[in-house]
């Protein structure tokens, strides 16, 4: 293959990634030449502009057909577009948080911070846009590595250090486990292209090794649950969320998690869709109970353990573990509504969680404490902070007129719409949701019912943060009242079938 062939690809479809890459590069260069003392604010604007431009690029691609470059090492399909929108939107909002985050350590490395954020985003986007194990893996690691560093960005904060180290160790083990599973997937089929793997999975010869396929599935799946913080690899999340700077926590709980679901969907659904299970059943049907157990365990562990938390960031870590459990439900049930349900829920989750973290960042940095007591009497002090926070919490709890409810409703449709319906999974989800009421409403109770001694101490809200709050709150409400805005957008622009569509780009045989 020569340069001509290389240039013959439609590199234009990669414009969102290129924009991000370019912005990141530009950032690092500008940062290098900036004076130490000068404000890094422009860098934030630049980074934001880059993300926005990338977002625009994706919107311009909306009616583009499925395109694939180099054997699906990069592919642009509805799936990738839909989820990249989430990733970009999430990062955009996190950037605002990051630019307002005031900590001495971070100040020093703020330029790098933006750069790392974009690099992580790039990794996530590549994950969304690839159907090749190697690319997916590298994307995953790019995201992971950047996240490790960001988590430890407060160098002088012991908790930040510790959380970063725990993240690295857990992440390293998870990577090894994932890779171990992937190596068998690769080994059994001899391919790294997901579609080809799927083809080869149907190979009669593999029937003898059906056990290994199932093992590979379980190991890979379990390894990938690391990113979404689901059982059994969820335990890093509370420690890391607690120690990491708030914007990073927000990033981890939203963007990184979304990326985790993206890779999970890509690898698991495409690869194993035609795989044989042990005996005659298809694999995905056969392993359903196991994944259900994991989903149920995730919901239970997340919600139940959250009850005892006093540290707000830690509480949200458990909350986000629980939310991952919810999102696994449609995944488990293999519903025909799979993609839109997950997409919608992640969209809703993005708004409510980032919104909540915005408030948390404002409060914790003002009070210098992460205790849940920072919310005390917030309604009295700053009603305009308490009210949106209430929306976010209600949405997380899945109360109607918020996006969270519609998301949960959809998940129920997915779980109960099948034959036979997964009643017990739905029941577990409902029961744990009830448990979650206790800690979610505890926040509300503290904000509204307990007038603290910090009477009159208003929280100052920078304009950009206020904008994020308003945007998130409005979105949570609007999506709760008119979910069709999002659903119609999804149905109108994305064709789920593209996800399964293998495009034969010109096959280059190695002719040398």
């Amino acid at each position: 293959m020569d340069l001509d062939t290389l240039f013959s690809f439609e590199w234009g479809v990669m414009s969102p990634e290129f924009i991000i890459l370019g912005t990141a590069t530009l950032l690092s260069i500008i940062d290098l030449f900036m004076k130490r003392e000068s404000s890094r604010k422009p860098l934030a604007w630049l980074a934001g502009a880059g993300v926005l431009a990338s977002l625009v690029a994706i919107f311009m691609q909306l009616d583009q057909d499925v395109t694939s470059i180099l054997y699906d090492t990069y592919r642009l399909d509805s799936f990738s577009k839909a989820f990249k929108i989430l990733l970009l939107l999430g990062t955009l909002l996190v950037l605002v948080l990051a630019s307002n985050y005031k900590k001495e350590d971070v100040e020093e490395n703020r330029g790098e911070f933006y750069y790392l954020l974009l690099a992580a985003l790039l990794g996530a986007m590549v994950m969304a846009s690839s159907a090749d194990l190697i690319t997916l893996f590298v994307g995953l690691e790019l995201l992971s590595l950047s996240s490790y560093i960001m988590a430890g960005l407060e160098r002088k904060n012991k908790r930040s250090n510790e959380s970063a180290f725990k993240y690295v160790v857990s992440g390293g083990i998870a990577t090894a486990i994932t890779l171990f599973g992937m190596s068998y997937i690769f080994g059994l089929t001899g391919e790294t292209n997901l579609f080809r793997i799927a083809e080869n999975m149907g190979n009669v010869e593999l029937l003898k090794h059906s056990f290994l396929i199932v093992f590979a599935f379980i190991i890979t799946f379990a390894g990938l649950t690391f990113k979404i913080a689901a059982a059994p690899l969820h335990m890093w999340a509370p420690d890391v969320y607690e120690g990491a700077p708030v914007p990073v926590t927000a990033f981890l709980s939203v963007v990184s998690k979304t990326a985790g679901f993206v890779i999970l969907l890509r690898v698991i659904i495409i690869t194993f869709i035609a795989a044989p299970g042990i005996g005659s059943e298809p694999l995905l049907l056969q392993v359903q109970p196991y994944v259900m157990i994991l989903a149920a365990a995730t919901m239970i562990i997340g919600n139940v353990t959250a009850l005892r938390q006093r540290n707000i960031k830690r509480m949200f870590a458990y909350s986000s573990i629980a939310q991952a459990g919810y999102i696994l439900v449609p995944f488990v049930s293999n519903s025909s509504l799979l993609f839109e349900l997950i997409w919608f829920y992640l969209l809703a989750y993005l708004f409510m969680n980032i919104g909540a973290f915005t408030v948390i960042q404002l409060l914790t940095s003002q009070e210098g404490s992460n205790d849940i007591g920072v919310f005390r009497g917030l309604f009295k002090r700053s009603p305009w902070l308490a009210v949106p926070m209430t929306f976010f919490v209600l949405s997380l709890a899945g109360i109607p007129v918020t996006a969270g409810f519609i998301g949960k409703f959809g998940i129920f449709m997915g779980a109960l719409g099948l034959e036979p319906a997964h009643y017990w999974l739905a029941a577990v989800m409902m029961a744990t949701t009830l448990v979650s009421y206790v800690y979610y409403f505890n926040i509300i109770a503290i904000m509204f019912f307990r007038d603290g001694d910090s009477e009159g101490k208003r929280v100052s809200v920078p304009g950009s943060m206020a904008a994020v709050l308003a945007f998130c709150a409005a979105s949570v409400l609007i999506l709760g009242i008119m979910p069709d805005l999002a659903l119609d957008f999804f149905y109108g622009n994305f064709d789920v079938n593209e996800f399964f569509m293998q495009i034969e780009t010109e096959v280059h045989t190695h002719d040398h």
Partner: protein, 622 residues
């Protein structure tokens, strides 16, 4: 005339509403509103009665509301029985209104009292006019309300409060019986109408078991209202109310409603021998039981109250012994002489400001009007010949004997003896002998009080001639025009019955005279000779205490038990779930021990367990 009979209850209602609006008025002339309006009712009632006497009946009904295809109706009906009741009720009510004008003088809630009287009269008249069971039941309850309000009129007295509550609850127990009977009948007949019920009974559409059951249920209602055994205890306590109330409600009208109910539903009872027997037995036993208690009471009103219970028992006995006319006859005469007695007692109390007969005595000279009137009443109730009580009581004894209930007959005779004894014990203690309390300032009651008493006194004498074998059986003939088929037109028992009855009552009077006037026999003669029995009687056979120990304590105990159950079992289960979740939470956070390597171990365990399950279920080892 008859078309406007529906107006009769409305005048007292109007009185109620007007007086409630004027409740803050200090002027005692507000009483005239009540007197006037009940007076109109009285006039109308008499008019209606006269019309019925001529042989006119009326029944008017309209749909109240519908349940599916079935219409629930409301309306009014006038027949001989209820026309008679109308007159009795409106008459006594009118007289009591008048009397109260004097008796309640100076009470700060003067208008309210008359308002309550109006409400009660409205309810009672409405009850009487009802053409169907449901409507009867509704007014039946409202009568209870009126009674409740009047008994509790002195609301600040704890006894009045307790008595009012007791009256309401005890009668409600009976009401529930009536309710059940009524509803059961509805599903048998498909209607609450008397006519249709009677038609069904006649056609034999209802099985005999169901007939007995419904009749008994309805009788339970009557027991409650009429203070029959075992639901009689509220009536003596109800004497906490102002005395005119006792005359109106607890002598002439409300307590008679139970008798009226049995009479109104008589065809139903007639169809069941068992039901009639039960009515008779309950009536007979109540008659002697209450009379026995009356022997030893010290409160003037309580004596009269037990006497009322006893007399009501007589009426029930009569009805149960197929003495339909006798029962109603006694109802009528009793209304007059008992109202008279109460009003007279009220007059006495008004004068001496005590109800304890031990503190009275020698009032004959001071109360020159009240004394003789009381004597007339006492003679009437004792069944001294030529007074009204004699005739009606005689009729009852005759019916009982004719019906073959000889045991009950002799019981009734003994009760008659006791009645005479305690009435004259009362008379002698109150009006004769030396004054035992401070009687300075005692004077006769004003005219508004004595006038009604005089009217009643006259009636107590003459009412007996309504139905005598000597002049004519007017009442019997009159009632025969009603819907009830009189069983056997007349009971003419053996000729010795009046003689025995007269003898019994004279004996009673004589004994009382000997003990309380002459002192020929020591007063505590009985206490000494039969200490146990007299103690039991003095304490009203310990019925109240018995109920208190069983039902009241039992209910409270159950309630307390329920509260404990609620607290420890119901809430306990919830608490168990909660602590279960909290325990899980604790385990969860203990697992999260901060050791990153433990997290890894946990993850590996998770994976290995899943792999193991796959291996085991997939036949890995086979």
């Amino acid at each position: 005339m008859l078309q406007s009979s529906w107006l009769i209850p409305l005048f007292p209602l109007l009185s109620f509403i007007l007086l409630l609006i004027l409740r803050k008025s200090k002027s005692e002339s507000t009483a005239w509103i009540g007197v006037l309006l009940t007076g109109i009712s009285l006039v109308l009632s008499v008019g209606v009665w006269l019309a019925v006497w001529q042989g006119d009946f009326i029944k008017v009904e309209g749909t109240w509301f519908q349940i599916g295809e079935r219409a629930i109706t409301m309306g009014y009906e006038v027949n001989p029985l209820n026309a008679l009741m109308l007159v009795i009720v409106s008459l006594v009510s009118f007289l009591v209104h008048l009397y109260s004008k004097g008796y309640m003088h100076g009470d700060e809630r003067f208008p309210v009292f008359f308002a309550y009287l109006g409400l009660f009269s409205f309810a009672m008249l409405g009850l009487v006019l009802s053409p169907n069971l449901l409507q009867l039941y509704m007014f039946w309850e409202l009568v209870g309300l009126g009674s409740f309000l009047l008994i509790g009129f002195y609301y600040f007295k704890p006894e009045a409060k307790a008595a009012a509550k007791k009256a309401f609850v005890m009668t409600r127990i009976g009401d529930v019986g009536l309710f059940i009977g009524m509803v059961l009948l509805f599903w048998q007949v498909g209607s609450f109408e008397y006519d249709e019920i009677f038609a069904s009974v006649k056609n034999g559409d209802i099985s005999s078991g169901m007939l007995t059951l419904t009749a008994l249920c309805i009788f339970v209602g009557a027991i409650g209202k009429s203070g029959q055994l075992p639901l009689h205890t509220w009536l003596p306590d109800a004497m906490e109310g102002p005395t005119p109330v006792s005359a109106l409600i607890h002598a002439a009208t409300m307590v008679a409603a139970g008798v009226y109910l049995v009479a109104a539903m008589y065809p139903l009872f007639q169809a069941s021998e068992t039901a009639l027997t039960v009515v008779a037995v309950v009536g007979g036993v109540t008659a002697i039981f209450a009379a026995s208690i009356g022997l030893m009471q010290k409160d003037i009103k309580r004596v009269l109250a037990y006497s009322t219970v006893s007399q009501l028992g007589y009426m029930m006995l009569a009805l149960g012994a197929s003495g339909y006319v006798a029962g109603i006859f006694h109802l009528t005469t009793h209304a007059f002489f008992k109202a008279l007695l109460f009003l007279a007692a009220g007059s006495v109390i008004h004068a001496v400001h005590t109800q304890n007969i031990e503190e009275m005595g020698g009032l004959w000279k001071k109360l020159r009007v009240t004394g003789p009137l009381f004597l007339i009443g006492a003679l009437a109730i004792s069944g001294v010949p030529l007074l009204s009580g004699f005739f009606s009581k005689d009729e009852i004894l005759a019916s009982t004997y004719a019906d073959g209930k000889y045991g009950l007959f002799w019981l009734a005779v003994v009760a008659a003896f006791m009645t005479a004894f305690y009435m004259f014990r009362l008379f002698f203690l109150v009006f004769t002998g030396k004054p035992r309390g401070d009687q300075s300032g005692v004077h006769e009651s004003p005219g508004v009080m004595t006038l009604p008493m005089i009217v009643l006194g006259v009636l107590a004498v003459v009412a007996g001639y309504l139905n005598t074998t000597w002049f004519g059986t007017f009442l019997s003939d009159y009632l025969a025009r009603g819907p009830v088929e009189l069983p056997h037109a007349e009971h003419h028992g053996p000729g010795w019955i009046p003689i025995v009855a007269t003898a019994a009552s004279l004996l009673g009077i004589a004994l009382a005279y000997l003990i309380y006037r002459r002192g020929a026999l020591s007063r505590d003669w009985m206490t000494r000779s039969l200490p146990g029995l007299s103690d039991v009687i003095y304490n009203k056979w310990y019925v109240d205490e018995g109920y208190d120990a069983t039902f009241v304590k039992g209910t409270k105990g159950l309630s307390k038990l329920g509260i404990l159950f609620d607290k420890y079992v119901v809430d306990g289960l919830v608490a168990a779930v909660v602590s279960g979740v909290q325990g899980l939470s604790k385990i969860g956070s203990r697992l999260q021990n901060g050791q990153v390597q433990s997290y890894g171990t946990f993850a590996i365990f998770g994976i290995v367990i899943l792999l193991l399950i796959v291996a085991l279920t997939g036949g890995y080892f086979s």
